[in-house]
């Protein structure tokens, strides 16, 4: 049990140190920074551009689609990396292996493409989407 | 051989079951007035298979046990069997029962085709009737084929259920509903004992397979044979309507007549006899139990026969006569003449079903009239029914060439030699039986007609007559043909008490005596109801209180009402009061706790994600702490 208490103590110490570092930094900043409470301090950007409206607006959903597609390919690239490192050992089999994987992704990608999810401007096909899809 | 038996057994069971399901499902939308074909085919197949099985079975070889599949399994425990299978125990007793059951069922179903059609419009339960009948055949075959007590119990309860459903077939009629309920409740009393008996066997032997229980299990049952036998016998008393649980059977006549013929005369009520014969190994080891069985049988036999003397309802008389005949069978079982008892069961199935079908034919002709005082002189309207009824009556009374004579005689011989008092009671019963049987015959078919003017009796159609003819053949020849072969075939060898082995009265003496006495009974009936009809009235007046006693069936119903029904009803009221205030209050309190917790939990789950997260984190914390503190 003694060792466990020791361990627990260590853990607590670690946690406390972590908290202290954050709080300490904030506290230190509060103490030493000059105070100049101007209205620009509350603006969204402090880099000179005057902000228009609130920061809490709803973003266009298209950004999310792009972000999601990006993440998918990002993850795919990440999967390609270890493969590329040991590609030599695998040879042709490795190529087929990855092509299969890639093929599945490509089908999904084509699907997105085919139904216009990648079009930035799809006001028409986006708003009245599904009835006209068949005629496309 | 095993495979053949397996296939036959499955067919015997499945054919009626499938036809029951099909006629229940397709009956109304599709088959309608053709439903009976479905059932006739199913039960017919079952009958053919039973015959084949009968033919294939070699009674001298030890009976095969055929496992179909594992049915119920629980985890293992010491000393108790935890794997129950559906298995068939096929021996000569099984095949005899199967043939009897399926043959009579088939005939009754053919008979019902016309009988029920004239009773109803086709859409008023015609399909239901046949579906239930078919289900009954399935249940009864399960009961008979069963190779373990669990399956036996299942079949036992299933036939009870079918009986309940069919007694209450005319459920809008209050008497029918009440009779169904009565049958069900009275049978529960017996089944309680039966269930306990099976439980006791299970606890002692740890097995429910016949093979085990009647083999090595008998040693484990040592010291408990009497208890087990008496508990099992409770079930038989209920199912076979023996004293004191006989009250349901006369009321069961509220069901359609074919049902009375099949279930409440020929087959289901004999399940008790079958069961006691099957468990002969246990019963034979306990002298007191055998004594109880024999006494119950003999007392019931004379008790029911005397009641039958003073009744006017044709079907009820037959019901009491069934009770009385079942009493004979139990007497036979109790005096170590199981083969004779089963033989009587076999012949009785023919002639009693025949009599009931005859009664149905009369009812059919008379537009539902069943009171003997309104019948009379039907001989010229219903010539064929009359002939078959005479054969049935002669068989029931026990006149020599007819079936009943041979089987009853065997029981009487054994009873007189083994337990003289009971034996002589049975002989007296024979006289009474002859009297009341021919009383029906004379009152209904002979003498001047007392038929009301508006009724025009007519002979039944061919569909009803053919089954009656076939049964007449059975009632005529079954006894004579099988009298010697039967007991050889059955092999129900039982250990008899050595001291009672010698015969005081020879077989021939008993036969002659019983024939003479039966003739005497018939003669008396002839004098009373044909020659000097006023003697009957005079006797009635003379006998006065005794007659009333008989007519009121020894006041058993009233006694039960006073002893059980009313106190129970009061108890019920008290319980209801307790339930209303005390139990409900407690339930309110008890459910209050979960309701309170439930309310708290629902309040917790209001949909705010932060709260969920917090609880989750807390839960993980508790989990960690728990592991922390319980680690070794």
């Amino acid at each position: 049990m003694g060792t466990n208490v020791e361990f627990l103590f260590g853990l607590l110490l670690f946690a406390a140190a972590g908290v202290a570092m954050i709080l300490g930094g904030l506290l230190l900043g509060k103490l030493i920074r000059p105070k100049a409470p101007q209205s620009e301090k509350g603006a969204a950007y402090e880099c000179g551009e005057p902000a228009v409206g609130s920061g809490w607006v709803q973003y266009d959903l298209r950004f999310y689609v792009v972000a999601l597609v990006f993440v998918i390919f990002d993850v795919e690239i990440m999967l390609l990396w270890p493969w590329a490192v040991v590609f030599k050992q695998g040879g042709a089999a490795a190529l087929w292996d990855l092509l299969f994987f890639f093929g599945v992704i490509v089908v999904g990608f084509l699907f997105l493409w085919r139904f216009g999810y990648l079009d930035w401007v799809r006001s028409v096909s986006g708003q009245v989407p599904r009835n006209e899809d068949d005629q496309n | 051989m095993e495979t053949q038996f397996k296939i036959l057994g499955i067919l015997i069971l499945m054919a009626p079951l499938v036809s029951a399901i099909l006629s229940a499902m397709l009956g109304r939308p599709l088959l309608r007035s053709r439903t009976h074909w479905m059932v006739i085919i199913g039960v017919g197949l079952s009958f053919v298979c039973s015959l084949l099985m009968f033919g294939l079975l070699n009674p001298d070889v030890s009976s095969p046990v055929i496992t179909i599949y594992d049915w119920i399994a629980t985890g293992a425990t010491q000393n108790l069997q935890t794997q129950f299978s559906v298995n068939f125990h096929i021996d000569s007793l099984t095949t005899v029962m199967l043939v009897t059951v399926t043959l009579v069922s088939l005939l009754v179903i053919i008979y019902s085709r016309d009988y029920m059609r004239h009773e109803h419009q086709p859409d008023r339960g015609y399909e239901r009737f046949f579906a239930f009948l078919s289900l009954f055949v399935f249940s009864m075959c399960t009961l008979v084929l069963a190779g373990n007590f669990l399956l036996l119990y299942l079949g036992w309860e299933a036939v009870g259920l079918c009986s309940y459903l069919l007694i209450g077939f005319y459920y809008p009629k209050p008497e029918a509903a009440a009779a169904a309920k009565k049958a069900f409740l009275v049978n529960r009393v017996g089944d309680l004992g039966f269930g306990l008996g099976i439980l006791l066997i299970y606890l002692r032997c740890g097995h429910l397979d016949y093979d085990y229980v009647f083999g090595p299990g008998l040693i484990q049952l040592k010291g408990y044979e009497t208890a087990v036998a008496l508990l099992l016998f409770c079930g038989a008393v209920g199912k076979s309507a023996q004293l004191p649980l006989h009250v349901w059977l006369p009321d069961a006549m509220e069901g359609p007549t074919p049902v009375s013929a099949l279930i409440h005369a020929a087959t289901m009520v004999t399940a008790g006899v079958y069961m006691v014969a099957r468990c002969g190994a246990i019963f034979a080891r306990s002298e007191p139990a055998m004594m109880v069985v024999a006494t119950t049988g003999a007392v019931t036999a004379i008790f029911a026969a005397t009641i039958a003397l003073a009744q006017y309802d044709l079907k009820r008389i037959l019901a009491y006569s069934t009770i009385s005949q079942l009493g004979y069978m139990f007497l036979g079982l109790g005096v170590f003449a199981a083969d004779a008892a089963v033989f009587h069961l076999f012949t009785h199935a023919f002639f009693k079903a025949l009599l009931f079908l005859g009664a149905g034919s009369v009812m059919h002709a008379m537009g539902g009239i069943i009171d003997l005082r309104q019948l009379g002189g039907l001989r010229k309207f219903l010539p064929w029914t009359f002939v078959t009824f005479v054969i049935g009556s002669a068989a029931l009374a026990g006149l020599p060439p007819f079936a009943g004579f041979y089987s009853k005689d065997l029981i009487l011989v054994q009873a007189i030699n083994t337990a003289p008092v009971l034996g002589w009671m049975a002989v007296a019963t024979a006289v009474v039986t002859a009297f009341y049987t021919f009383r029906i015959l004379f009152l209904a078919f002979c003498g001047p007609t007392r038929v009301p003017m508006e009724v025009r009796p007519h002979e039944s159609g061919i569909w009803m007559l053919i089954p009656m003819f076939v049964l007449s053949l059975g009632a005529l020849g079954a006894g004579f043909l099988f009298q010697h072969r039967f007991s050889e075939y059955l092999h129900l060898v039982q250990e008899r008490f050595a001291s009672l082995h010698h015969e005081r009265f020879s077989h021939e003496f008993v036969a002659v005596m019983s024939t003479v006495l039966t003739a005497l009974g018939i003669g008396m009936a002839f004098i009373f109801y044909i020659q000097r009809p006023n003697w009957a009235d005079r006797t009635r007046v003379l006998a006065g209180p005794i007659y009333t006693l008989l007519q009121r069936k020894y006041y058993v119903d009233e006694l039960y009402d006073l002893l059980f029904v009313r106190p129970l009803r009061y108890l019920g009221r008290i319980c209801f009061g307790v339930d209303c205030y005390v139990v409900d209050g407690m339930i309110w309190l008890v459910t209050g706790i979960p309701r309170l917790i439930g309310w708290t939990l629902r309040t917790l789950q209001k949909g705010a994600l932060q709260g969920y997260g917090l609880t989750m984190a807390l839960g993980l914390g508790i989990l960690l702490l728990f592991v922390w503190f319980t680690q070794p």
Partner: protein, 537 residues
């Protein structure tokens, strides 16, 4: 070298046959997408492809089952001891369960108002995707694979929960689901990384082997517990064990009823099977280690199983949405099944436990398919799943009402239905353990009694509450499916009682043999170079 490396990279044809069912599902997904691209969105074509895929998967799984029963379990990518996929009797069993259930969900999708829906390709892509994930969850002992499989199962589920785009409730539920899912997944990955840090391997069987040696070192036990519990959080989320269950009622109520059906059975079953497999593997470590290191975890699982069924049952009181009610009921059932986790660590009991769980899952699938199926039909044909909609169902749609009653009574665990036997075997397996497990048995019985109240409420609404609405017109096929479930429940409760148990025992034995085989191969091979180098890259 060349040949060896081919074997390393490309599983042999035999191995591919073992994972055939998963490949069939993936092929179905690809086919759906391709077909849709060519012909446009057609619900029926999609459904046909799905059914073809399921049939192919079924046949391939049958083949795999036959192979496994002849040759023993197959480990795929064998040169590496840390085989990625294990195909044993249990995997095969679970895939069968999954495929049958998928067929059920697909049929209800088609029967409902969704037939005209243009979104079918997406729906089935997501559904099959999560099915592949679930199938993989149950067929691996590699931590990395577990994480990937769980994510593969979860991500489509989030989208499925929000599939009804016009439903605010669905959107809300999906957001909650995503947030919960990501938190728990993160916790789980954290636990996995801790385990990897502790043991230097991702294979659970190896971890079990090394447990006593690694943990003997000072200060490592608490870390191990933290890691295991963090891992369990992810699984707990999947099976909606208290306190990770909060997403469940919201999602079940908000999502479409087909999705609810899917999540209530498949997702939970996969999580549960994964957890039990993990426990089983850890318990297969060297003797002595089990009681010492894993014992407390079993206790914790028992405790939370008890809590789970309690909370599930009590929250179900007074729910008026039947879907939500069934959601709580499924939480309670997850609790019952989780109880078995407490005894898997005792080798002498594990056969009973696995037998019970295999039988329970099968029967549970039919109970829920039936109950949710009726709810789906009622919802489609009366517009809501409010309990009032069930009023007078006994008259308006007698076949549905009877099937529902059978399923509900089976969910309570009343004889003579399958649910009773399933629960009976489960409790029997627990009771065999003796000791504090008896408390669990009694607790489960008490909970069963509680649960009767809310299940009976639906039955009361169906049969005792008068309703003047006209008869409900339900398609025959829908009635047939729910009736089939009811019949299965009745049969498993009566005449098929022992065959089910025998089959379950056989699967359980197969599973346990595969475990011992696994242990053997592991002790034979030391972790080799390639493996090490691959992991550390």
């Amino acid at each position: 070298m060349w040949c060896a490396s081919i074997g390393y990279w490309l599983p042999s044809g035999n191995d591919l046959m073992r994972v055939g069912p998963d490949l069939a599902l993936i092929a179905a997904i690809v086919l759906i997408l391709l077909t849709t691209m060519v012909t446009g969105r057609r619900a029926l074509a999609t459904a046909v492809i799905v059914m073809l895929g399921l049939t192919a998967g079924f046949l391939l799984n049958w083949n795999a089952g036959v192979w496994v029963s002849h040759h023993g379990p197959d480990t795929i990518l064998e040169p590496v001891p840390a085989s990625m996929i294990i195909v044993d009797g249990f995997t095969v069993y679970f895939r069968f369960l999954l495929l049958i259930f998928l067929a059920g969900v697909t049929s209800f999708w088609l029967l409902g108002a969704n037939r005209q829906e243009k979104d079918s390709p997406e729906f089935f892509t997501l559904l099959l995707g999560s099915a592949v994930g679930m199938s993989l969850m149950v067929s691996t002992l590699n931590l990395l694979m577990i994480v990937v499989a769980m994510e593969l199962a979860s991500l489509p589920s989030y989208a499925l929960a929000a599939f009804d785009r016009n439903s605010r409730k669905g959107a809300e539920a999906a957001v909650k689901y995503v947030i919960f899912g990501s938190i728990t997944a993160a916790t789980m990955v954290y636990g996995v990384s801790l385990l990897y840090g502790l043991f230097g391997t991702l294979n659970l069987a190896e971890i079990a082997q090394q447990m006593p040696f690694v943990l003997a070192e000072h200060g490592r036990t608490p870390l191990f517990y933290l890691a295991i519990l963090a891992f369990a959080v992810g699984v707990g989320f999947k099976i909606s064990a208290v306190p990770f269950h909060f997403w469940c009622p919201d999602v079940f109520e908000g999502a479409r009823v087909e999705v609810t059906m899917w999540l209530s059975v498949a997702s939970k079953a996969a999580g549960l099977c994964l957890l039990l497999r993990v426990m089983q593997t850890l318990a297969a470590g060297p003797t002595g280690a089990v009681g010492e290191y894993v014992g407390p975890i079993a206790g914790a699982i028992g405790l939370f199983a008890a809590l789970t069924c309690f909370v599930g049952n009590l929250s179900a009181y007074r729910q008026t949405s039947v879907k939500r009610l069934l959601a709580y009921s499924s939480i309670a059932h997850a609790g019952y099944m989780l109880m078995l986790g407490a005894i898997l660590l005792r080798p002498e009991l594990s056969e009973g436990a696995w037998t019970a769980i295999i039988a329970y899952l099968l029967i549970y699938m039919f109970m829920n398919l039936g109950a949710f199926g009726v709810t789906a039909l009622v919802e489609h044909y009366s517009g809501s799943d409010h309990i009032e909609q069930f009023n007078g169902l006994g008259r308006r749609a007698p076949w549905l009402a009877v099937a529902m009653a059978v399923c509900l009574f089976s969910l309570v665990g009343l004889p003579p239905l399958g649910g009773f036997l399933a629960k009976w075997w489960l409790l029997w397996a627990l009771a065999d353990g003796g000791g504090w497990l008896w408390a669990l048995v009694i607790w489960a019985c008490l909970n069963t009694a509680f649960s009767l109240f809310y299940y009976a409420r639906i039955i009361k609404h169906m049969f005792l509450t008068e309703d003047t609405r006209e008869k409900m017109r339900v398609p025959m096929s829908g009635v047939a499916i729910v009736q089939l479930c009811a019949v299965v429940l009745i049969l498993t409760g009566t005449i098929l009682a022992a065959p089910i148990r025998t089959a379950a025992t056989r699967y359980a034995q197969g599973l346990l043999q595969s475990r011992t085989a696994e242990t053997l191969t592991l002790t034979d091979h030391a972790p080799d170079e390639t493996h090490e180098s691959m992991l550390h890259h």
